[in-house]
Amino acid sequence: MSENHQHTHIVPLSVYYTIFAALLVGTALTVWVAYIDLGALNTVVALAIACTKATLVVLYFMHVKYASKLTWAVVSGSVFWLLILLALTFNDYLTRHLLTYG
C-alpha cells in the first residue's frame, strides 16, 4: 500500500463552509417536508435527505474524498455491513404477510 508516503490534502475553508451550509439546508428541508403529508413517501424522503447529509459528512468532514484506497475499502466495507443488517431485516418484514408461524 502507499500510505507511508501519503500527503495530507489541504481542503480550503470555503469547502467546509459550503458543506456546512448544505447540511443546514438539508436540516431545514427535513423540517419543512415533515409538515407535508407525502403518504408512503414520508419516510423515503426523510431518509433520502438524511443519507445525502451523511454522505457529505463522510466525504468532506471525514476527508474520505481525499483518502487512500484502503480507507475507501474500509468505508465501503462498513456500508456493505449496514446493507447486510438492512437486507436481512427486511427479508423478515417484507415477507411476513406471506406466512408467519402461529
Binding site: 436481512l88 427479508n91 423478515d92 415477507t95 411476513r96 406466512l99 408461524y101
Partner: protein, 545 residues
C-alpha cells in the same frame, strides 16, 4: 551417555524485565506497556468472572430442588440476568483479547507494542467504567431482563436497573471497538521485517477476525441499548408497539451484534487452540491457510445468521428458512478448524502437559457445542427446543467448554512467559480434569432435561426433573473447585514457582525467543523473520524443559 552430558544450568530470571520496570502503583495504572495492560485486564476479568460465578452458584443452589424455595421468582430473574451480563459483557468478551491478545499480539509479530499504546490503556479504563455501571446496577436493585434486554419487558415493564446496566454495556462497547481497532492497525502496520501475513501465528489471524467483528458489530449493539434506555426514559416508541414501534426490531438489532459476539468470544479461543495443538504435538498446524481463512469466514458468515435466535419471535417463515440455511453454513469453517486440529494431532508426539489437556478438552466440548448448534439451526427442532435447557446447555458448551477452556489453556501455556515462573503441574492437571468432568456433569444433563421440556429462566420446575438438576448442581460444585484451584496455584507460583526459562514447552513462535518475562520493549533488537509459523520440530530453540 547421561554420565558424559554436561549439566544444563538452571534457568534464571532476566535482571530487567517488564514486571520490574517500575514498581509504583502509578507505573501500573498509567502504563502504556501492552503486557502490563494485559495484566490489568487479567485482574479485572478475573474479578468479574468470580462475581458472575457467584450468581451461577445461586442459580444451581436454587435448582437443586423443584420448589422455588431459596430465591423468589423476582430475585431468581435478577440472579440469572446478572450471571449472564457479568459473564458475557465483562468476562467472556474481553477475557482472551484483553489479556492474551494484548500480551501476545505485539510479541508474536515482533513489535515493541500495539500501534496505539495510549488508546490501549484508555480501552482498559473505559472497560472499567462500563463495568462499574454494570456493578452499580447489581448493587442498585439488580437487573431482571435477562442479559438480552428483550423489549417490551425491558422498556415498559421491568422495574429493575435497566438504564445503568444498558449504559454499562454501551460504555463497554467502546472499549471493545478501540481494542479491535488497535489490533487491526497493529497487525497491518507493526509486523517485523519478514513477518508476512502467511507467517503469522494463527492466534494473530483469529484475533484479526475477532477485531473485525468488534469494529463492525459493536456499534450496532451500543446504539441499540441506548435506544432501550432512551425508550425507557423518554418513551420514544421505537420498540413499543403501542406507539407504532416493533419489539421484534430490537431482536434484529440486538442479535445482529450478539450472534457475531459469540464469535468474538470463541474465535480468540480457537486461536489459542491452534497454538496449543501445534506446540503439544510438535507439528505444524495441518492446513494453515484453511485455518486462517476459516477465522475470516466465521467472522463474515457470522453476521448473516442472527435470525436463528428469532425463529419463534414472529419473524416470517421465509426469513427463518434463509437464516436456518445460513446458520448451517457457518458451521463449516468451525468444522474445518476442528478437523484440522485433530489432523494436526494425528501421529503427533503429544506431550501430556496441562495446556494439552485443555486443548483436547476444548476439541471435545466445542464439537458437542457446535453440533448441538446444528440441532438448533433446524427450524422445526428449534421450535421445540427454544427457551428450554437444551439452549442453555448448547451455549455453555460453546462459551464455557470453548472459550473458558481456551482461555485457561492459554493462561497455562503462556503463564511462564507472562511471569517467568512455572506453576505446580500436578495441581494444574488435577484442576483441568476437574473442570472437564465437572463441566460435563453440569451441562450434559441440561441437554436431556431441556429436550424433555424443562424451560429456562424459572426458579421452580416439575419434580420429575429433579434428578437431572441435582446432577447438574453437583457438577457445578466440582466445576467451582476446578476454577478455584488455578487461582490459588497460579498466585502461589508468582513468588514460589520454579523459574521457567525462555522456552519451557519447546515451542516455536517469536514469543518463545525472548526472555521470560520479556523486556519492556519485548526484544533486545527487532527480529528478522525468515521462517514460517510452526516449523516444528526444526526451529525449537532454547528448550530447557
Amino acid at each position: 551417555m547421561a554420565s558424559t552430558a554436561p549439566i544444563a544450568p538452571l534457568p534464571t530470571l532476566p535482571k530487567k524485565h517488564y514486571l520490574n520496570d517500575g514498581t509504583t502503583v502509578a507505573s501500573w495504572l498509567l502504563t502504556r506497556d501492552h503486557k502490563r495492560i494485559a495484566l490489568l485486564y487479567l485482574v479485572a476479568v478475573t474479578v468479574f468472572f468470580v462475581i458472575g460465578g457467584l450468581f451461577a452458584v445461586l442459580v444451581r443452589l436454587e435448582l437443586a430442588t423443584p420448589a422455588g424455595d431459596l430465591l423468589s421468582d423476582d430475585s431468581y430473574n435478577k440472579v440469572f440476568t446478572m450471571h449472564g451480563v457479568m459473564m458475557v459483557f465483562f468476562f467472556l468478551i474481553p477475557a482472551i483479547p484483553g489479556t492474551l491478545g494484548n500480551f501476545l499480539i505485539p510479541i508474536m509479530i515482533g513489535a515493541k507494542d500495539l500501534a496505539f499504546p495510549k488508546l490501549n490503556l484508555a480501552s482498559w479504563y473505559i472497560f472499567m467504567i462500563g463495568a462499574t455501571f454494570g456493578t452499580y446496577s447489581v448493587l442498585n436493585g439488580g437487573l431482571d431482563t435477562g442479559w438480552t434486554f428483550y423489549t417490551p419487558f425491558s422498556t415498559v415493564a421491568s422495574t429493575s436497573a435497566v438504564v445503568p446496566a444498558a449504559l454499562g454495556v454501551f460504555i463497554n462497547g467502546f472499549s471493545s471497538i478501540l481494542t479491535g481497532l488497535n489490533f487491526i492497525v497493529t497487525i497491518h502496520r507493526m509486523r517485523a521485517p519478514g513477518m508476512t501475513w502467511f507467517r503469522l501465528p494463527l492466534f494473530v489471524w483469529s484475533h484479526y477476525a475477532t477485531s473485525l467483528i468488534m469494529v463492525l458489530g459493536t456499534p450496532v449493539l451500543a446504539i441499540t441499548v441506548v435506544l432501550v434506555a432512551a425508550e425507557r426514559i423518554f418513551s420514544f416508541g421505537i420498540f413499543d408497539a403501542n406507539r407504532g414501534g416493533d419489539p421484534v426490531l430490537f431482536q434484529h438489532l440486538f442479535w445482529f451484534y450478539s450472534h457475531p459476539a459469540v464469535y468474538i468470544m470463541v474465535l480468540p479461543a480457537m486461536g489459542v487452540m491452534s497454538e496449543l495443538v501445534a506446540a503439544s504435538c510438535r507439528k505444524p498446524v495441518f492446513g494453515y491457510t484453511f485455518v486462517a481463512f476459516a477465522s475470516l469466514a466465521i467472522a463474515i458468515i457470522g453476521f448473516f445468521v442472527w435470525g436463528h435466535h428469532m425463529f419463534v419471535a414472529g419473524q416470517s417463515v421465509y426469513a427463518a428458512l434463509i437464516f436456518s440455511i445460513l446458520s448451517f453454513l457457518v458451521a463449516v469453517p468451525s468444522a474445518v478448524k476442528v478437523f484440522n486440529w485433530t489432523a494436526t494431532m494425528y501421529k503427533g508426539a503429544v506431550s501430556w502437559q496441562t495446556p494439552t489437556l485443555y486443548a483436547i478438552g476444548f476439541i471435545g466440548l466445542f464439537t458437542i457445542g457446535g453440533l448441538t448448534g446444528l440441532f438448533l439451526s433446524s427450524v422445526g427442532l428449534d421450535i421445540h427446543l427454544t427457551d428450554t435447557y437444551f439452549i442453555v446447555a448448547h451455549f455453555h458448551y460453546i462459551m464455557v467448554g470453548g472459550t473458558i477452556m481456551g482461555y485457561l489453556g492459554g493462561i497455562h501455556f503462556w503463564w511462564p512467559k507472562m511471569t517467568g515462573r512455572m506453576y505446580n503441574e500436578l495441581l494444574a492437571k488435577i484442576s483441568a480434569a476437574l473442570i472437564f468432568f465437572g463441566f460435563n456433569l453440569t451441562f450434559f444433563p441440561q441437554f436431556v432435561v431441556g429436550y424433555l421440556g424443562m424451560p429456562r429462566r424459572y426458579h421452580a420446575y416439575p419434580p420429575e426433573f429433579q434428578m437431572l438438576n441435582v446432577l447438574s448442581s453437583a457438577g457445578a460444585s466440582i466445576l467451582a473447585v476446578g476454577y478455584a484451584l488455578p487461582l490459588s496455584y497460579l498466585i502461589y507460583s508468582l513468588k514460589y514457582g520454579k523459574v521457567a526459562g525462555n522456552n519451557p514447552w519447546g515451542a516455536v513462535g517469536l514469543e518463545w525467543t525472548t526472555t521470560s518475562p520479556p523486556p519492556t520493549a519485548n526484544f533486545e533488537e527487532t527480529p528478522l523473520v525468515t521462517w514460517d509459523a510452526y516449523e516444528y520440530p526444526a526451529r525449537v530453540e532454547g528448550h530447557v524443559a
